[in-house]
Symmetry: none
Subunit: 206 residues, 4 copies
């Protein structure tokens, strides 16, 4: 209709802007439903009714149930990386402690299969679930290991990601095999053993 070539001073999308409240209401309702009923409780109908947002409006944000569920899971288990102390051995023990805390959270166990789905399927995509969502300190601890392993008397001939993998993985398999999350003691012992096993040959005892 109006073919005025003049560019309209972009920096704002045309049309009514999306209400931030709606985003919040949707995710909030989805989170509550996820907590109470597990992933299959997160129904578009239920989210709409609980949030007071029209179903069609949810589809404006999320292309489908899966995307909403992924976002909800992300919001549910997202943890900020905790600050590292700079003491490599202490930080590895922290990793074990945090992993134990996550696994012991019943809500987390409910959505963990969903997380696996997200991790093992569509590996890319803007809204994909990333491992950092569930294990936020993976990269920092690897960096730290790379920098401080020699000083701490730990092996330097290995993948710096490996220590955290050993700790996290061991605790995860414990949960899978036993059906109950590892205790804090088990987590601590695991951390100790890994640290011990990583000592560089001939290094002085801790």
């Amino acid at each position: 209709m109006d073919s005025s070539g003049a560019v309209t001073s972009v920096n704002h999308a045309p049309g009514r802007p999306r209400s931030h409240d709606v985003d919040a209401a949707i995710l909030r309702a989805a989170l509550e439903l996820l907590a109470s009923g597990g992933p299959e409780g997160v129904t578009m109908n239920a989210v709409a009714k609980r949030s007071g947002v029209a179903r069609a409006s949810i589809y404006l944000r999320f292309p489908g149930r899966d995307a909403l569920l992924a976002a909800t899971v992300r919001a549910a288990v997202g943890r900020d990386p905790f600050p590292l102390t700079g003491d490599l051995r202490a930080d590895l023990r922290l990793v074990a402690g945090q992993a134990q805390a996550i696994l012991a959270n019943p809500g987390f166990r409910m959505v963990f299969p969903e997380i696996m789905r997200g991790l093992l399927r569509q590996p890319d995509g803007a809204d994909a679930i990333r491992f950092e969502t569930v294990g936020p300190n993976r990269v920092p601890i690897a960096d730290e290991y790379r920098r401080l392993a020699a000083g701490a008397g730990l092996r330097t001939d290995i993948d710096p990601d490996l220590p955290a993998r050993l700790i996290l993985g061991s605790l995860l398999v414990y949960l899978m095999a036993e059906g109950v999350p590892p205790t804090t003691e088990i987590a601590a012992e695991t951390a100790e053993l890994v640290i011990d096993g990583l000592k560089s040959p001939g290094a002085p005892p801790s």
Copy 2:
């Protein structure tokens, strides 16, 4: 479907006996659907149509979709425990190798979330998925470790399940974090490192 070339002899309970073919056809169809379309492709309707078995007949065998899916997953990834050699270090390396092979199987990655669901939910029940389904050698290797660790110069002050947990968990986290399964080299290095770290203090080098 109707392969009853054999005449149904005579002596059977009143009524038509359950055809063994039907069980096979159901699981076969479910497996194909699982492979091609993932767990959400395994629909009662689809299984019925593909197998030529009536939906009602499926419900005679399985109490519900979840049970059918569990059975299908079991059939899909079930591995018999492989024989141990009796050489503890070699057997730990075998564990790593087998774990790597499982994780590298694309079909396995497709159904792994379903396995997690099975493991983290209903902890008991006759048809529940058990960890042994996915990690069949867990108990034997733990037994062996208990028996042979001292002789092999490995630590005896730890949970005998721990070595396998470390290996399996580390490789599993690799898959989760990287999105691709660990290579055989990574599996081998991981096994080496774990074995190395488990050496009892003062033991002779391997």
Copy 3:
């Protein structure tokens, strides 16, 4: 599926037969909704809720809302042809009377546009609305006219359908133009006039 040559003594479709009650409940609910809210009140949701029949079950009978609405309209306005007396002039008066009664029915006026839709669109198809649904005596009266016109002193050089068309059409246009249905007097006068105008030239007065 089963290609056993033996025909299974047909005379009954396999599977659970459709319940006649469900058909009745659907149409009954649709009719009530049609009467109370007009065609736009006949919603699949509303019909399902009111009839107690699941929406999916409605779709087993009717391929869509339009088909259900058509069937409902047919059921709403369907009239059996009334028996003709054999007296042509009297029967033409009966046609006018019945037409007036139909047009005066408020329910009919509500669904008449829907009938027009059915008549002017898809001219064929098994479940199409046919003119006979709304004007059931058209064919019999035309036959009668063909047979008895000469004996009754009426013109024989015209389309035998025409007399009924004139009567019906005139009353219909009255409704359209005035917004209210013709009275019985108007219907009677119209019939009289048509009969009068159809007298064959030179015939004796009635």
Copy 4:
């Protein structure tokens, strides 16, 4: 509303006046959609997209979809009354001819149910569809009949609206019953028959 006596020079609403182009674009798009997809194709979304006018702007002109559809139908089938010749019999033949032309127009048949809806529902209202929209010459021909019937040798003891009703109605019922519009021959014969039947008893043959 604002009864401030001071007339601001000319009586003109403040602010930007409505663009006449927009009205035209809306109706034009609606007409095209009506022709191509029938009434259910006339969607506010579709009209907006096709016309380049924002949906909100359409609602500035028309209070809702129904009003837009009514206006579109009016624009689609509206015909000006044609001039009467003053020869009553000839004018009745013209009525039949014009009615036939209208009924033969495929576009008309598509929207006719909508017209019926408009005629049988809301009997008043500024934007209601009136019978004159579809049969523009009804009132003039009735007036003429009242004035000239005696002189033309036609009955004067009838509703002067009746002749046109008979002609229009008969042709309309033909369309409804046969599914195809009447031919010009049928229209001509119908007119002839009606004129013939309306002759006052004892009048000289035409």
